[in-house]
Subunit: 348 residues, 2 copies
DNA sequence: CTGTTAGCGCTTTCAT
DNA sequence: ATGAAAGCGCTAACAG
């Protein structure tokens, strides 16, 4: 059984003053060493470092930040942790942050816009050096404030509503377009579409992609074939049920995310219909379980982990060089063909 | 387009001094109001409160904590975010913490014991007021230090290795016992068991529960029918494959978590076998996707969200009253019967 | 290169 | 019930 940081004095907190005494320098010098200031004689630096080691010194984060330095924390706002979707993004963020020794403060907004704004206000008051916002709800509410304050942040998975701010997303429009096109080329003419929360840019883009593909192939859009959901599984169930109740139900259903696609599958099966024999289902995201369910879900893959990693990199760059040019990056989506789609039963 | 905290002075940070001036009191009084001190005349309090409101005052966390108080942050150490399992626990923790306005600092150890110890050492130095450790790896390494320092923490999902410290877990032994018993009563005699990481208490307990049930029903244990996994999906695949290669393969497979159960399902299907017709599969955890896959997974449910919530409550209580008696709570598991198990094909 | 001196925004005695 | 004053541990000019 090993012991942790097995130093002599366990109670009294070791401060830079203690280190300074131990090393025989002023505490300012210790601070310099702490901050990698160039103006320290290597020999002195070594002495300080060894004193730190000996005393088991750990810098006090709050004090550093209060005094005007960095907190070495960045804040992460996510809507929730439920679906694995966010988990993938966080994995990427985390990988990048760990690499640079930066801590992550996590806030779950539970999809409440007011909470989101509140958190942002709070965080930007010094808790963190920068902000990562996943699937922001009403960014317009606070982006202005953040920008004005020159507070570094980057949006993840939000196709802006015209605002010019750092963001990384995926090619939602393109992804939806290609998926719809795939369905059409399979022979489908009546394709039900279940949207996400339409206040989210990505949801709008996906719907737009679907519509564009329909237009390209001269398929008139049937309003009955678009069901407005909110990215939750029950929406998928309800949407598919509504489609199936139609006198002329679709031969394929394209859900704006995998979770809703799974809900749709459930509804379809509950009617005694089979996938993909009777009806095809296509999702969006490619969350881990998409490949685990049967039939394995054909879906549009978003490079979630990569998006997270990239966003973290962008933020870190912004932190180092605030004058950085604003970048908006869209990572490519990719249609992953698995088992849930096939040509419609009766060729028309 | 609304504006956030639409106050007059956007740049200069509002401090208690500003509030004090605005309210015509000393800044000490403002501090008292901030801390709900009893010794403030209601009228004065009201005046200060309204001044805060007017100025859009937000207390600076670092300053409060530096000045001797709490950080109002608690640290959460988790192995990873991959499976939804952890997500559920966090959801519970988060619910409780949000209620009390406490922030969450998230650390992902990626199942590395050394990282874990490191994080703990760092965090216990003032970053956070308390620690929540999910599925701790080598708690023996640091529990001693933590206890000695009187640093509040609670373990989640770790059946102690004899140490007396606050913890919340589930009845892993019981859960595995009942699940195995269910399989036996269904008529199964050859039941393959895929273990979790055997350095984790919960994994050991589940295996023990399985064995105990076998013993109760006088079924001799076949070493070939126990495959050692690590809680990851590929282990389930490999384990099931190994079982299926046996001259006398099992008629049911009990995996120590749902993710491995899904891996097992994959392997089974890849052999052209059907679930549950040819072979039954049973999991553990009841993660969200367990009910979404087909066949829906019969599994042992852990009250994940509740565990998280309870652990947070315990920690918060500990924070308020450090003299608290050490508690170890085990929440009951529950067998959720769905579609992945049925009696074995040929009654022997 | 290194030491001195002010604060950062707040909590907390100690007076009043 | 309220004010004054002394730090919490550290960074950041400013001197030397």
């Amino acid at each position: 059984m090993k012991t942790l940081t097995n130093t002599s004095v366990p109670n009294h907190k070791v401060t830079i003053v203690d280190v300074a005494n131990e090393a025989g320098v002023s505490f300012a010098t210790v601070s310099r060493v702490l901050n990698n200031s160039a103006h320290v004689k290597p020999e002195t630096r070594a002495r300080v470092l060894s004193a730190m080691e000996r005393l088991g010194f750990v810098a006090n984060r709050q004090a550093r930040s209060l005094a005007g330095g960095k907190t070495n924390c960045i804040g992460l706002l996510v809507p929730d942790l439920g679906t694995g979707y966010i988990g993938e993004i966080i994995r990427g963020i985390d990988a990048e942050l760990t690499l640079r020794g930066i801590d992550l403060i996590l806030y779950t907004t539970h999809r409440t816009a007011s909470k989101e704004a509140n958190y942002v206000a709070n965080l930007a008051t010094g808790m963190v050096d920068g902000l990562l916002l996943v699937l922001p709800r009403n960014p317009t509410d606070y982006i202005g404030t953040l920008t004005r304050r020159n507070f570094p942040f980057v949006l993840i998975d939000h196709q802006g509503t015209g605002q010019d701010c750092p963001a990384v997303g995926a090619t939602n429009w393109q992804g939806a377009y290609e998926a719809t096109e795939y369905l059409i080329k399979l022979g489908h003419r009546r394709i039900g579409f279940i949207t996400g929360s339409m206040d989210l840019g990505c949801a709008q883009d996906r719907l737009a992609g679907y519509r564009a593909a329909l237009r390209t192939y001269h398929i008139p859009e049937d309003p009955n074939l678009v069901y407005e959901g909110t990215f939750f599984q029950p929406d998928g169930y309800a949407g598919a049920s509504a489609f199936l109740d139609l006198p002329d139900p679709p031969t394929a259903i394209f859900a704006s995310n995998d979770v809703m696609a799974m809900g749709a599958m459930d509804a379809i099966r509950n009617r005694g219909l089979r996938i993909p024999d009777d009806i095809s289902v296509l999702g969006f995201d490619d969350i881990p379980q998409a490949s685990l369910i049967r039939p394995a879900l054909t879906t549009v893959q978003q490079p979630l982990e990569k998006m997270g990693r990239l966003a973290a990199q962008m933020l870190l760059d912004l932190l180092e060089n605030p004058a950085q040019k604003v970048e908006r990056i869209e990572l490519p989506t990719k249609l992953i063909i698995r088992e849930s789609c096939q040509p419609p039963r009766q060729a028309d």
